[in-house]
Symmetry: C2
Subunit: 411 residues, 2 copies
C-alpha cells in the first residue's frame, strides 16, 4: 500500500503562510531576514512545535526540524527548501518544499511509522537573492561553498548587512553552519516554467540544473540638459543600451535551451528633462550545458568590447558577479523519484531545472534530487504563481515515498 | 557712461548659494520646497532684507523683492529666475538669473539711481519639475496658464503634495498668485548648451524658445522567473524597449534642430533573476518650429502603434504629459538686449532656447526676453556646470542695461 499525505492540510498551510507579508493579487513579500520573513518562520516553528519536531538553528539563520528515527546515529534524510520570497513573489516558490517537508514529517507521525533514519526538514536562508546577494546563501554557507564571512558582509540596498539582521533576530548565538553528514537531500518545488504543463505530466524528475552566470553592466556617458545640446554632441548612453539589449537577446535567441534576462535597467539620475549620465543593468545567462554557457559568456564579453569600440564616448563596464556551474543530480535518486511517481500513478517527465535552487549546493555534499510539479502558465516570481491542490498533493506524495524509501533503509 | 554691476560680489554669492544643499563635485541639490530649497530662499531673503528690498510672497511660493521707483503706480520691470535645482544640479542654472537680478537691484541702490518704475526681483517656485510635475509651476500659476488647484495636487515620488509642503513652509496664508500688470520680464540664464561657447560669443540674444512635449510610456509584459521559461514563450518587454529607444532616437536624428531624450527608464520589479513585468520610461521631444514638433509627436505616436502591432504580447501605453508650445519673445526687447550688449562691447549671437524657462510663461502675459551667457562644454543639470566669472558679470551687466532702459522710461 502507498502512503499518502494530507492534501487539505498542506493546502490550508500554503494559504496560511501566504498571509504573512501579503501583497495584492494573492502574492507574498517576505524579503530575507525582514520582519515578515521571520514571522513566516515563526508560523512554521509553531506548527513543528505542536508536533514535537525538535528545532536546531545555525548562525546563518538556517532552520532544521527533526523527526527522530530508530537509530539516532544514522545519517538523516533531508527535505526542505526556503520561505523567503521575491519582492513580488508567489505562494508556492520555496514554500511548497518546506510545507510539503513538514507534511512528510507529520504524515509519518500520524501513521506512527518508525523510520530507521531521522528525517530533517531544512529551511535555507536567502534562497532568492533579492535583498542580499548571492542567492542560495544559507545552503551555500552550510555546504562550505560560500565563505561565511562573505555572506555576513552582504549588504541590502539600504546598507543593512546580513550580519546586522542575523544579530537582530538572535541567530548569532547559534553554531556555525555545516550540513555535516547526511544520507541524501530531496527538494520538492514548483517547476517555474511551462514544460510540465505543456507535456500534461504531473511529476518532473529533475536530473540536474542549468548553469547560471550573473553580470552587472554600467554605461557611463555625460549627464546634461535635455534641451540645448544637439543630439550629435551628446554623450547619451541610451542608444547604446538598445544595442546591448539586442546583444543579450541575440545570445539568448541562438539556442532554445539558452536563457538570457535583463532584470534590472535604470537610467540615472532619472529626470524627464535630463540626458542620463549613467545606465545600470544586470544580465542573467543560463544553459544546461556548461560548454554552451561558457560560449554565451564569451559572446557577451566580445559583444561588450565591440560595443565599446562603436561608442567611444560611452564607457561600458561589465562585471561578472556570480557563476553557478551546471549541476547533475544523483542518478539513483532520480530513478527512485521516477519509480515512486509510477507506483503512485503519476505521469513523470525527466527535465533540467532552469532556476537555481538550494539543492544545487547540497548536490556537492550528498546524493541530491529534486521533484517538480507544474505551475499554471509557467508563471513564477509573480503573485499570479499558482499550482493546483492536486499537483501540490501529488508532489508531496512522491516526496513522502522517496523519503520513506531512504529513511527505512539502514545506513 | 555704462553702469556696471559688481562682478566679485555676484560671484561670491553664487558660491555661497551653492553651499546650500551641496553635493559632490561642486553641485547643488535643492529640490522644490525641500528644506534645502527653503534654506536657499532664506539666504536670498537675508541679502535682500539687508538692502531694504521689500518682500512679497504668494500662495504657490513665488517670491517678489521690490526696489521702489519714483512712481509707485508705474508698471514694474521684472527680473528673476529660480533657486530650485535638479537632483544633481549645478551652481548656475536659475541661480544666476536670481542673483544677477539682486545684483541689478543692489547696483541701482549703490548708485543711488532713482528709476521711474519699480524693479521687482522674482523667484519662481519649481522651475525644474524634478520633484513635482509640471515644471515651471510657480510662473505657470502666476501667469494663469497652470490651474492653481492642479499645482497644489501634484505629488512627489513619496506621495507628498505641493499643497502639504506649501503649508509646512507657511505659504498658504499668502495671496493667490497673479503676476498682474508689469512692463516687461527679463531673465538672465546660462545657455545650457554649447552654441555660444562654440561661436566664441559672450551674450545670447534669445529670440524665443523650443516647443517641448513630454510623454510617459509604459510596457506591460509578464513577470516571471529568469530560468525556466524558454525565451520564445516569455512576455519580456525588454526587447521592445530597444525598439522604442531606436524609434525615439531616429526621430531625433532626422533634423539637427530636433532634440529627443529618454531621461527615465526603469524595469520593474527590478530583480536580477526576474524577467521584468513592466518598463516605465519618459520621452522629451523639442523643436524650435511648432509644425516640426507636431510632426515629431505624430512620428512617436505612429511608431508606438507600429510597435504595438509587432509585439502583440506586450501592451504599450503612451501618455502625453505636457506640451509647452514654441515661444517667440518680444522683438523690441530682443533689439534692446542686442544694442545693450553692443554698447557694453560684448559680442552677441541670436539664438533659440533649447531648455524651457519661466520666461516662456511670462511671455504670454507681457513683453519678455532672455539673455544667455555661455557655460563650459554646454554642460548643465550636472554638478560640473560652469560659467566663468567674466561671462556671469557680462550677462549681469547687459541685464542691468536692459532694466535701466525700461525702468527709466515713463509708462
Amino acid at each position: 500500500m502507498q502512503h499518502r499525505i494530507d492534501g487539505e492540510r498542506l493546502w490550508a498551510r500554503l494559504l496560511a503562510m501566504a498571509q504573512i507579508g501579503p501583497i495584492p493579487g494573492d502574492g507574498s513579500c517576505r524579503l530575507t531576514l525582514s520582519d515578515d520573513d521571520e514571522a513566516g518562520r515563526a508560523l512554521l516553528i509553531s506548527w513543528c512545535a505542536a508536533r514535537g519536531f525538535a528545532l536546531r538553528r545555525d548562525a546563518i539563520g538556517n532552520l532544521f526540524f527533526r523527526r527522530q528515527g530508530r537509530d539516532a546515529d544514522a545519517l538523516p534524510v533531508l527535505v526542505g527548501s526556503h520561505l523567503d520570497t521575491q519582492p513580488t513573489g508567489g505562494r508556492f516558490d520555496g514554500v511548497l518544499g518546506v510545507l510539503a517537508g513538514l507534511e512528510v514529517l507529520e504524515t509519518l507521525a500520524d501513521l506512527d511509522l518508525e523510520t530507521e533514519r531521522p528525517v530533517d526538514l531544512c529551511v535555507w536562508t536567502n534562497e532568492e537573492g533579492s535583498r542580499f546577494q548571492p542567492a542560495m546563501m544559507g545552503s551555500g554557507v552550510a555546504c562550505g561553498i560560500l565563505p561565511f564571512e562573505q555572506a555576513l558582509a552582504a549588504c541590502d540596498a539600504g546598507g543593512v548587512r546580513v550580519a546586522d539582521e542575523l544579530v537582530r533576530h538572535g541567530y548569532e548565538r547559534e553554531p556555525v553552519p555545516d550540513i555535516g553528514l547526511a544520507d541524501c537531500y530531496v527538494e520538492l518545488h514548483i517547476e517555474q516554467g511551462p514544460i510540465l504543463e505543456n507535456s500534461g505530466k504531473t511529476i518532473g524528475v529533475v536530473t540536474g540544473g542549468q548553469g547560471i552566470r550573473w553580470y552587472e553592466i554600467s554605461l557611463h556617458g555625460e549627464e546634461t540638459h535635455a534641451g540645448p545640446v544637439p543630439m550629435a554632441l551628446r554623450k547619451d548612453p541610451v542608444p547604446m543600451l538598445a544595442r546591448l539589449i539586442d546583444l543579450v537577446h541575440d545570445i539568448g535567441g541562438r539556442d532554445p535551451q539558452a536563457r538570457c534576462t535583463i532584470g534590472q535597467v535604470r537610467a540615472l539620475p532619472g529626470s524627464i528633462n535630463v540626458v542620463p549620465g549613467r545606465i545600470e543593468m544586470t544580465v542573467d545567462l543560463r544553459h544546461p550545458d556548461e560548454i554552451e554557457l561558457e560560449a554565451m559568456h564569451h559572446a557577451l564579453m566580445r559583444g561588450c568590447s565591440d560595443l565599446s569600440r562603436n561608442y567611444p564616448a560611452i564607457r561600458l563596464d561589465v562585471a561578472p558577479r556570480w557563476h553557478s556551474p551546471v549541476v547533475r543530480f544523483d542518478a539513483n535518486l532520480a530513478n527512485l523519484v521516477r519509480s515512486c511517481a509510477e507506483r503512485l500513478g503519476f505521469a513523470a517527465h525527466d527535465m533540467v531545472s532552469g532556476a537555481g535552487h538550494d539543492a544545487f549546493h547540497l548536490a556537492r555534499r550528498m546524493p541530491t534530487v529534486m521533484i517538480f510539479v507544474p505551475c499554471r502558465d509557467g508563471i513564477s516570481h509573480n503573485p499570479r504563481e499558482y499550482a493546483s491542490p492536486q499537483a501540490v498533493a501529488a508532489g508531496a506524495d512522491v516526496l513522502l515515498s522517496v523519503v520513506l524509501d531512504r529513511a527505512m533503509s539502514r545506513g
